[in-house]
Amino acid sequence: MAVLTPYTFIQCPCSDSSTLGRPSDPNSSTITEADEDERTFDPRAPRSNFSLYPLEYLLYCEDCHQIRCPRCVSEEIVTYYCPNCLFEVPSSNLKSEGNRCTRSCFQCPICIGPLAVTSIETRPDPSLLAAPDNTAAPHSGPYALTCSYCNWSSTEIGIQFEKPNSIHAQLAKLRNGGSTRLTAKERKERRKDPAYRRYQATSSGEGESDQTENLDLETQFANLKAFYQNQLADPNSADTGLAALGDLGFSSPTSLSRIMSIYTGGSLQDRKAKSRLGAMREALKPDEGLQFAHLDESAAIETLRGEGHDGTASITQLVDQPPNLGEEHLHGRSRFISELRPIPYLLRTKRSKRCPVCRHIISKPEAKVQTTRFRIRLVAGSYIPSIAIRPLSLSATAGGGGSSASGATLPGALLEPLKPAHFLLTFKNPIFETIKVTLGAPAETPGRFASKVTVLCPVFEVDANTDVWDEALREGGATGGAGSGGGGEKGERRRGRYDEGSQANNGNQLEVGKIWERGRNWVSIVVEVVPASLRLDQGDAPLREDEDVLEIPLFVHVEWEGEAGGDDVLESVAAKDKGGEAREKRELAYWCVLGLGRIRK
């Protein structure tokens, strides 16, 4: 079993429906205190899975003074880029060319490994000293995409390239098997070509010959669209006798033009005036977009016989395939590996994050793809106290008798059921103000196995995260002027630090309401737990996964005095000028979950 290291997860207040969308107002202080008290947060509730985050995942809005988790920020895309070539793609290109890299970045269709462009041509044997003319161009086409992991090569699907660059454009013109296909633009040009028109005119007389042509999706759509546009434009469209249905008929030009305008963005609206009542004929030729279904699947069955299951693509491989407009019509398609195509890399994004309430930016990365730095990043870790958990062994100090010995000494050791264990929670204050912390924990953990929890010191203050040197200087002042009220208090609070050395001698007694240890900007307190027994009675449901982990919900309420309204330097200067008048009380309250360890089964 994996060793469990103690952890702290914080529940973002956004998951509480009563606080959602409401900026925390420092004046209305007793907000949720009342209802929070009544309702203990259950870390095992299925919902909790979606609202608990490690401190590192959380951001903080300086204006709302509230924690922001990945669920309660609104994101804006700063940059689109290819993860393979790190090329930044302008968002205008995105609309025309799609969300994949259009350079030469491809993933293997078999194993999604990156593909490399390699020359297929066997290079002249270097052991042969002849052929000096070949040294001028060591790499010459044709080229193929190859995967260095699973040894797939695009030659397996019959695709090779003339040039080693702009593979994406070359691939768009190639069908699997190597036959070329016309892009939409080329097809348009072909239609204008008089020679092709003449050829079309003669072949249409023969009729059958052209229908064997397989239209891919893009071509078929283009053909159909052109055909119907012609039909609508043609005032003499054949009347096939369905005119009785009039405007409501499926074949009526008006309804068709309405449908077409939905798809093509209203380009047909102007032609509506010209259209007449009366049905139109349907497409009759491949050139008009008629595609016969291939119902004869014997070829596919034959291939399946030959290649077996190994020759077919897996669902993952099919899902990873990019949408391919050059693909054959649905009926002509089977599911063989030979029909997979290299996958152009999906573009990735860099996003900035905004507070959904006040719209301030709380995280903004550098726009340049290559840099991993952030311009703005308000991480929660620099605003709310971190909580570190350490098992506390009392065996050394329990000689006095009163306090009970702790079972868990090593981190990750199993907790003995029904035997009190102690944990040291260290709260570290990241802000430059002294904070007052109030903790609340249920006496028994929620869930099937109720362990008893006692927070020995639920109310305490943690000193400000002042400059280390500042601190040293003030130390001296405090001891000097111990007589004065403020200084004495400071000295009192800091004494723990000096006692550290002598702690081993006099022993830290577990005393209710007493801080275990304190330092410059941190305070350690003790939590006593009596783990529940995991014994199951007859008929009880078996132990669920991780049900043996002792998790205690802890309500943390932090209070401090901050500068009014402001977060930037200017404001703080102003506050100093006014001599502390602008200070106001701030508070933050949230649930967190302390995972202490596994209980022995």
Binding site: I110, C111, T122, D125, P126, T146, Y149, C150, N151, W152, S153, T155, E156, D310
Partner: protein, 194 residues
């Protein structure tokens, strides 16, 4: 096992010193480890990297021509099956075989075909017969006694496919060039094992 670590210092020859048959053109590092009781034969132009381990306790070990046995690779370890060679040949590498860093080929009539690459940290079980020009990607495990057809690629936790690139010749040439470089880099000391 495959994760067996050796000290950084040249290890003191542990166990019996096996009889060796070396071609004059091989490159074998001073700190390679050759132990066992059966003979170890290494043919022309093959390279054995420092700290590679060849163990002939379970039977004969044969390394073909132009093979490369990388650092901390193990040939002839007695696997969990405890199987030893019935025919007397523990491990046979054909020509142009690469056994990558930390890979292990267990003893017991194990055969690796020409041009095959045993990837980093891969494990070939006792008695497995690997075909020609196969690729075992890193950390692949081939079960004991398994038979792989020629040109098989084993990848991604045991998925199989056939290499259709037809690059076998090219790969062999590449290996030959690599060996040319290695011979210049690795100081050879075949005399130590004689």
């Amino acid at each position: 096992m495959s994760s067996k670590r050796h000290s950084i210092l040249p290890p003191a020859p542990s166990g019996p010193k096996p009889p060796v048959h070396f071609s004059s053109s091989i490159t074998i590092a001073d700190s390679a480890v050759l132990t066992g009781t059966h003979s170890i034969a290494i043919h022309g132009e093959s390279v054995v990297h420092p700290r590679a381990r060849l163990d002939s306790l379970a039977g004969r070990i044969t390394v073909g021509r132009r093979c490369v046995v990388h650092e901390r690779a193990t040939l002839g370890a007695v696997g969990v099956s405890g199987r030893v060679a019935e025919s007397g040949a523990a491990v046979t590498l054909a020509d142009y075989v690469t056994v990558e860093v930390g890979a292990a080929v267990e003893a017991g009539d194990t055969v690796i075909g020409e041009g095959t690459v045993v990837g980093v940290g891969a494990k070939v079980g006792a008695g497995a017969v690997i075909g020609k020009h196969c690729t075992l990607t890193p950390h692949t495990e081939i079960a004991a006694g398994e038979v792989l057809p020629d040109y098989t690629v084993v990848y991604s936790n045991g998925m199989r496919r056939t290499d259709k690139r037809g690059m076998a010749e090219l790969k062999n040439k590449g290996l030959a060039r690599q060996i040319d470089v290695l011979r210049r880099i690795i100081p050879s000391n075949p005399g130590k094992f004689a």
